[in-house]
Symmetry: C2
Subunit: 97 residues, 2 copies
């Protein structure tokens, strides 16, 4: 199991609307093959910046299976309009839990 | 409760030694006022990069109490020699758990 961490930047004036959009997109992740967990965090020092943190069974479950699925299109349709910069993504493996 | 995320960059050839140093530093965090949780993750796409993820009761517990404590000096003595770039740190609050 690995974690996708997507760094998302929005207009902080639209935070409540963005957070609701992410919450509404959650079922599209939960329905995905290889999905493990879902969370959203906000950077205290820069409230324009969020981290979407998704647990997947493998990098491939995210980058191959999910990215090619209708669920990814639904996610981008809901959250994409809020992005003011291109999202960046990394995958992390746990060393110490 | 918030999470400190410290981005740490090392020489990946020293990964095993670095990971052991972080594990040995863990009790210095656990003994700190306001400590909640401790973890270390490694970036799959860039194995020189790690994230130290520490839960604290507040930003102040990390930035004021811990940073002024002997435990922080112990942490830096153990892990600091591995850093090839200055660490960066952010604090995140959970929006969706």
């Amino acid at each position: 199991m690995i974690h996708e961490i997507a760094s998302l930047t929005i207009d902080p004036a639209r935070a409540a609307e963005f957070e609701a959009a992410v919450a509404s997109a959650r079922p599209h992740f939960e329905a995905a093959k290889g999905f493990v967990s879902f969370g959203l965090k906000r950077v205290i020092e820069n409230p324009a910046c969020y981290q979407l943190i998704v647990g997947w069974e493998s990098v491939e479950a995210h980058m191959v299976d999910f990215r090619a699925s209708p669920g990814f299109q639904e996610w981008r349709a809901l959250a994409g309009p809020f992005f003011v910069e291109a999202p960046t993504v990394a995958h992390l493996q746990t060393v110490i839990a």
